[in-house]
């Protein structure tokens, strides 16, 4: 549909007002909210995400687009709720105890939101108790753990064990990342995945949630 392409194109340029206006127009034309979301906004964000991944766009440009998307989502959300459209997935993010680094985690959050996921960021220096509580309360599809230090990365394992003990491990995919982390370490601590950067984290979450093992 012409208007959805136009919406996507304007979103890609980060034109917030125009994007919002086109969203309203599309709704007025009777296009279903889901279709506007998928074929307009998310289609546009996917192109932006792809360009970022290929180093063709800088993060500040992506952030402008993400802000434009938010404008449109504010318009769209009531309609999506009315149509009982399920979220694409909810992601809980946090940096483990003893570690106060958060810029990497924040980037992952931004990219995931851009890709249409709901993101809850619990912050830094998070204990396993807090992770467990928040998983129980928020029921995320994916828990993303971040660590930047060789002395805090080991805490990821404890979080995973704590989830197991509380019978939550089967209900949430756990992914890990941060400077000292490798795929090998992720395998070792029985995480479901490792992402080396924010773009890969989006791909990883997509593939984990598409692999059918979604729980809620």
């Amino acid at each position: 549909m012409e208007i959805l392409n136009e919406l996507s194109a304007n979103l890609q340029e980060g034109y917030a007002d125009k994007t919002k206006k086109l969203t309203e127009e599309a709704l007025a034309q009777g296009i279903p909210a889901t279709e506007i979301l998928e074929k307009g906004l998310i289609a546009g964000m996917n192109i932006v995400g792809g360009k970022f991944k290929k180093n063709e766009m800088y993060l500040p440009e992506v952030l402008v687009v993400a802000r434009a998307m938010k404008f449109s989502m504010d318009v769209l959300k009531p309609h999506l709720a009315a149509a009982r459209v399920k979220s694409r997935g909810k992601i809980l993010l946090g940096t483990v105890k003893g570690d106060m680094h958060d810029i990497g985690k924040n980037l992952v959050g931004i990219m995931l939101q851009g890709a249409g996921f709901d993101v809850v960021d619990v912050g830094t220096d998070i204990s396993m108790e807090k992770f467990v509580e928040t998983v129980e309360r928020e029921q995320p599809d994916v828990l993303g753990l971040s660590a930047l230090l060789t002395t805090t990365m080991v805490y990821m394992k404890r979080v995973i064990e704590a989830l197991e003990q509380r019978q939550l491990r089967g209900k949430v995919k756990v992914i890990v990342g941060g400077a000292p982390i490798t795929q090998r370490y992720a395998d070792e601590i029985k995480a479901d995945g490792y992402a080396r950067d924010a773009s890969s984290a989006v791909d990883l979450v997509r593939s984990l949630l598409n692999s059918g093992a979604q729980q809620n």
Binding site: Y58, P60, M100, I103, T150, T152, M153, V154
Partner: protein
């Protein structure tokens, strides 16, 4: 202890590795008086810090310090600096910091007496004020922890006191991601500057009480964050270059408060600080690639007095443990520096180091000697931290632009576009600080507690 720097300490023909105007001599080690020494750093490989792992941690540190000292002896290196960069938990629980400081110092002193290896220990507590969000900067347990860590590590054997303090990071993290020039000026020129004044007054006091050397602070959390994100292609390199120059103003404040160097390694802005103060500086470049990839691997050595590997964890490589590998690489780099100094060829080598990097990346370009001179002069001409930060940012953007025009700096079209955007935004900023703060502070109200920087909320 307050010092002001109203003229440049080193002219273009004096600005070179191994020679500072005010060398530091302590315990048989002399820094900046005609040679470059290695500064070696290492950290634990994957392990948690707790009572149960205490012995394993002690044995890792003991192995690392013994092995690097032995390698220095084997390679005929007779002087050396070791940095102990405390992990956050070692700062919060000061007995850990003390224990490791003592352990390192003991082995270092043993090598002094048996092998004649002269060494100094730099202790670098973590700025754990970051744990609270938004951080308390001027009060509270976190600040106490940091100051206690300094005091206890100094008493336990530290010679040089440093930190990578994080004032302003509440703002700069986001401003970097957004390539937000105003935010950076607020974070660096207003907040970080205010925090440096506050913090370094206290650190210099502790140094005075403990007869240790207040050595300096780096804008790691700001400028290196920008550098790393630029390296990952997340933000424009020209922005990272401008940010680097801006942070020189913030890092200089440690010296205004009484620090005398050697400035800490990961502050590439130390190039400007050396030109301004004449104090010796530690720098890191290609042989710190284990810790930071960068675009300044050679040029970072052009003015250095200590040459550092930044950090490496205790993992085995094919030849030896990684700290030993770093030690060896630093020693060879230092041999090259020092051979040129002995033969009067240091300016030739400096220029090779400079020319090998400077045209390829804006972050390297701003360390060309004539540009260091110019930007340093710009900084000292400013009448306030704010004015200095703004004017050096403007000057940096201008000299990058000039480099592109001259053909001495290769810059992609995309980077050039960003450079002009940044230069334009800088030009629009008010020269009056009060006005700027009023305009800007609203944006950051949720992120930062202005009272913690001595500013009215």
């Amino acid at each position: 202890m307050k010092q002001t720097f109203s003229s440049l300490a080193l002219g273009p023909s004096e600005l070179v590795f191994g020679r500072a105007k005010h060398p530091i001599i302590r315990n048989g080690v002399s820094i900046g008086s005609g040679s470059v020494l290695p500064e070696i750093k290492f950290t634990l490989s994957s392990i948690s810090i707790e009572e149960a792992t205490r012995e394993e941690i002690r044995s890792q540190y003991s192995e690392m310090i013994t092995d690097v000292c032995q390698r220095a002896v084997d390679l005929h290196q007779s002087q050396l600096v070791v940095e102990f960069e405390l992990l956050p938990q070692m700062t919060v629980e000061s007995h850990w910091g003390v224990m490791i400081t003592e352990l390192l110092k003991e082995v270092m002193e043993q090598f002094r007496s048996t092998e004649g290896l002269q060494s100094l220990l730099r202790v670098t507590p973590t700025d754990t004020r970051e744990f609270k969000k938004p951080p308390l900067r001027r009060e509270g347990r976190e600040l106490e922890d940091v100051l206690t860590s300094f005091r206890t590590c100094a008493n336990a054997g530290g010679d040089l006191l440093s930190i990578e303090s994080t004032g302003g990071k509440e703002v700069t993290d986001q401003a970097i991601m957004e390539t937000d020039v105003r935010g950076m000026l607020f974070g660096v020129g207003v907040l970080a500057a205010a925090d440096m004044e506050f913090l370094w007054e206290r650190i210099c006091e502790i140094a005075h009480e403990t007869a240790t050397i207040p050595a300096g602070d780096t804008a790691c959390g700001i400028a290196n964050t920008a550098m790393v994100l630029a390296d990952k292609h997340y933000i424009p390199k020209v922005f990272a270059a401008v940010v680097r120059a801006m942070t020189a103003v913030r890092s200089l404040i440690a010296y205004e408060a009484g620090a005398i160097g050697p400035g800490k390694d990961c502050g590439y802005e130390n190039a400007y600080i050396k030109a301004i103060t004449g104090f010796p500086m530690s720098m890191e470049g290609k042989s710190a690639a284990c810790a930071h990839l960068s675009t300044v691997g050679n040029i970072a050595g052009a003015y250095t007095d200590l040459w550092s590997n930044e950090s490496v964890q205790n993992v085995k490589l094919l030849s030896a443990m990684a700290p030993v590998v770093s030690m060896e690489q630093l020693i060879y780099d230092c041999r090259l520096f020092n051979t040129s100094l002995r033969g009067g060829k240091e300016m030739d080598l400096r220029d090779l180091l400079v020319d090998s990097d400077s045209s390829l990346d804006p972050q390297a370009f701003i360390f060309r000697p004539e540009i260091v001179q110019m930007l340093s002069a710009t900084i000292i001409a400013g009448r306030s931290h704010y004015e200095k930060t703004l004017s050096v940012a403007l000057a940096t953007a201008a000299c990058l632009d000039q480099g592109v025009k001259d053909g001495t700096l290769l810059l992609s079209q995309r980077e050039q576009k960003w450079l002009h955007k940044i230069a334009g935004e800088l030009a629009d900023l008010p020269t009056e600080e009060g006005q700027f703060i009023e305009e800007e502070k609203r944006k950051w109200l949720g992120h930062v507690d202005l009272a913690q920087y001595g500013l009215p909320r």
